[in-house]
């Protein structure tokens, strides 16, 4: 596992909660937000989530470092919604087919806030949860098949190795005269070749890892767990917190009259 996925050195409160409880809380918030495109429910949820950052051991700088692709995607989604949604109300900006009106701007902002409010819990969860502990909880508490869960966990470790191999194979191929220069077609072909090389290496690594795991007795029907995944009082609070944020978001939107169920609105 690379550094980004490790919670080593993070002693925040939420690192001690059971991963399954955190996962459930995150799912509740996400589900509610996925139901409605409106800026009120999204901003309420987002405000609560930002308040939770210290509990997960996150700072705004760290959040940006780990979650910037999601944050950018949310902003981009909001922007394109604002431009492309049907106009309603006063037109604020007009450039032919691209125009922003009060109505479409509101929709765009709602869309962006919603994207952020949905993405942030996932970043929060991964920042205070070790993947191994999550796997333990999924297999022991949620009773998912342990062969599948542990197989996935072991495979995730290979992803980090693959990132290193990609760089090495790129250099090794340049040393053979396969350059990343030339016209787009040549570059595309070079990338395809490099991907194929990576695929070959990935399959080799995976089959060697499979032998390693099998040689250590993996694959049997029963196994014991050295790290029992247990629940504590903290987990009740985590679940309540998730439920609370979801309820507050819905209540605020209903109160403000902006609640807007996705599958009931005009498409």
């Amino acid at each position: 596992m690379r550094d980004e996925l490790s919670v080593r050195g993070n002693h925040a409160l939420l690192t001690r909660a059971n991963p399954l409880a955190k996962f459930t809380a995150v799912t509740m918030v996400t589900l509610v937000l996925a139901l409605s495109i409106d800026w009120v429910s999204a901003s309420v949820a987002l405000a609560f989530e930002l308040m939770l950052l210290p509990l997960a051991g996150l700072t705004v700088a760290l959040l940006w470092q780990r979650g910037w692709p999601l944050i950018l995607a949310a902003a981009l989604g909001g922007w394109s919604t604002a431009i492309l949604a049907p106009d309603a109300g006063a037109v604020l900006f007009d450039a032919g087919i691209w125009s922003i009106s009060a109505g479409s701007l509101q929709l765009g902002i709602g869309f962006m806030l919603r994207g952020l409010a949905i993405a942030l819990p996932a970043v929060l969860l991964m920042s205070c949860t070790d993947p191994t502990d999550l796997a333990d909880a999924l297999a022991q508490n949620a009773k998912l098949p342990h062969r599948f869960v542990l197989g996935t966990l072991a495979a995730m470790r290979l992803v980090g190795i693959m990132a290193e191999q990609w760089q090495t194979i790129g250099m090794a191929r340049r040393a053979r005269g396969v350059g990343s220069s030339g016209n787009p077609y040549q570059r595309f072909r070079a990338t395809m070749g490099q991907s194929f090389g990576l695929l070959v290496q990935a399959i080799r690594s995976a089959s060697r890892l499979a032998v390693t795991m099998e040689a250590r007795g993996f694959g049997g029907a029963a196994r014991t767990w050295a790290r029992p995944s247990t629940f504590s009082g903290l987990d009740a609070w985590v679940l309540l917190g998730g439920l609370g944020i979801a309820a507050a978001a819905v209540a605020a939107a209903l109160g403000a009259g902006t609640w807007n169920l996705v599958f009931l609105t005009r498409q």
Binding site: D130, Q167, G177, G179, R208, T212
Partner: protein, 544 residues
């Protein structure tokens, strides 16, 4: 401390045992008759293709499903005779035997040290309360007990990873330890670390040991029996010689040398250099700092400026001259490979410069000579390969076609050269018979020879090699060393990253010793290489 019974050493019995992998015409092993008593320690030798790994995999109970898909053939694999551990089939006795393989990277299953060691015990349904005492004991036994249990496994060195794999096996309390070239990918210090850990654990548990290794000197004093296997055939027995180490080494010395085994006290004969004078300066570096990481962008607050990565090595002054060998040495993690790749124009210098002299960049007689500046990193790929050739540690990373001949023609074809050099290289590196083979299907030694040949086919004036002798048998080693000394005499510059003092002694030239990254002001400068002393390290043999 634990209530579990101690380790019960296992016995191995093979009667006319044979195995053919799915889709292969010939069996990997056939007609094997072998008895290993409980607690015996056996070193398994034999030429590449004698089925040593197949036997270990069968004993570990992992033969079959996992290897069946490899050949891409629907044919089933095929087993004959019987192979038993304590009178029962290995597959039915999960955890009775534990296997450590060659590649450290794929021996690690989980991301925290303690979890990884516990993995095997959990799979064997050891009661949870008993697992952690076992984990601590196993880590102490392999000498990793000083690390915290949540230490990230990705931060371990190669030797540490192999010891971790051993600990993971020990926590299962197996009666049979199977080691499949556990030290082939390690530097000399790592080799000894692993060997000593194995010795300590065997003394403590009394388990049976079967180890496959070509470095006889490393394991000779630890084992009490050597078994030499030969490639399977219908008539002959699979076991060629069997007996105490000294006796086998005395009786079969010549045969083992012929098979490329590193027999103790034997150094393969190599060509001596005839013209060890150094020629013109081709490539030099000044105040060079190197890193594999790319520069990254700072966040919004710092205005998105570029942050240079932290160099693993800095202040390096290197001089590469025509006809002269430059050997880069130093401990693990001192940035040897990174430095070599930077000199080779494959990585961008973090600070300082790498510059080619006009002698190298000009290349008046080369078709792609025009327009190349002094910085090799900025050269186009084709300009680069005609000047500096780089041979990577893992040959497979450099294969770009599906046929040996195409592989060799790839560089020359792109540069507009003829085939004459290719035929000569095929001949010289004994690849003529293999022209139609798929590069991925070659043996370890053949892959190494091919990777050297493909790079040389582009006529570079500088050849850079990263650990060229890792995992090579004595025959390939001698061929490679002789061939490089010939190239040097013909005026090519050879830069090699190596731990192999014997190898650098054959090439002569100068040594660039890198100090650890924590050493202050590690300004490494070329220094004269010492002749190999008596405590030189022996390279090891190819994977079978």
């Amino acid at each position: 401390m634990t209530s579990s019974p101690g380790v019960r050493p296992a016995a191995v019995t093979a009667r006319g045992w044979g195995w053919r992998h799915a889709g292969r015409p010939r069996p990997a092993v056939s007609g094997l008759d072998l008895d290993i008593r409980p607690g015996e320690r056996v070193l398994l030798l034999g030429p590449s293709g004698a089925g040593k790994s197949t036997l270990l995999h069968a004993l570990a109970g992992v033969l079959g499903d996992s290897t069946a898909g490899e050949a891409g053939d629907a044919e089933e694999s095929d087993e004959t005779g019987s192979l038993l551990i304590d009178g029962a089939v290995p597959r039915a006795q999960r955890g009775r035997a534990g296997l450590v393989q060659q590649d450290p990277e794929t021996q690690v299953v989980l991301s925290r040290l303690g979890d990884d060691v516990a993995f095997g015990a959990e799979n064997l349904s050891v009661p949870a309360g008993e697992i952690w005492p076992r984990v601590r004991e196993a880590l102490d036994d392999v000498g990793l007990g000083w690390l915290p249990l949540d230490h990230p496994t990705s931060a371990l060195s190669g030797g540490q990873k192999q010891r971790l794999a051993l600990a993971g096996i020990l926590a299962m309390r197996p009666g049979l330890l199977l080691l499949d070239e556990p030290t082939a990918n390690l530097d000399p210090a790592g080799v000894l670390e692993v060997r000593d850990a194995v010795g300590r654990c065997l003394d403590k548990t009394g388990a049976t040991l079967v180890v496959v290794e070509h470095r006889v000197a490393v394991w000779k004093d630890l084992v009490d029996r050597i078994v030499v296997l030969q490639p399977g055939s219908a008539t002959d027995s699979a076991v060629l010689i069997d007996g105490p180490p000294d006796q086998v080494l005395a009786e079969a010395r010549d045969m083992l040398i012929g098979a490329g085994v590193w027999v103790p006290g034997y150094v393969p004969a190599t060509r001596t250099r005839t013209a060890p004078a150094s020629g013109q300066l081709l490539l030099s570096s000044d105040a060079l700092a190197v890193s594999r990481e790319r520069p990254r962008r700072a966040g919004l607050r710092q205005g998105f400026r570029t942050i240079a990565p932290r160099p693993v090595q800095s202040g390096v002054m290197a001089r590469v001259r025509a006809g002269e060998a430059l050997t880069i040495t130093g401990q693990n993690g001192s940035g040897k490979s990174t430095l070599a790749l930077t000199l080779a124009g494959l990585l961008r210098p973090v600070a300082g410069t790498v510059s080619a002299t006009t002698e190298l960049s000009g290349c008046a007689d080369r078709r792609v000579g025009d327009g190349a500046g002094t910085d090799p990193y900025r050269w186009k790929a084709q300009q680069l390969i005609a000047r500096i050739g780089t041979v990577f540690q893992e040959p497979e990373h450099q294969f770009v076609t599906g046929r040996v001949h195409d592989e060799l023609m790839f560089g020359p074809r792109h540069l507009g050269y003829g085939e004459d050099r290719v035929d000569e290289l095929l001949e010289r590196l004994r690849l003529t018979e293999l022209v139609d083979a798929n590069p991925y299907t070659l043996s370890g030694g053949e892959k190494r020879r091919l990777s050297v040949a493909t790079v040389l086919a582009a006529h570079p004036q500088v050849l850079v090699l990263d650990e060229p002798t890792f995992g090579q048998d004595a025959n390939t080693w001698a061929e490679l060393a002789s061939f490089l000394s010939e190239l040097l005499d013909a005026g090519t510059a050879v830069v090699s990253v190596t731990h192999d003092a014997e190898f650098s002694a054959v090439l002569g030239g100068t040594e660039l010793r890198l100090h650890g990254r924590d050493a202050a002001g590690s300004g490494a400068v070329n220094a004269a290489v010492n002749a190999a002393g008596p405590d030189r390290e022996l390279p090891e043999a190819a994977a079978s």
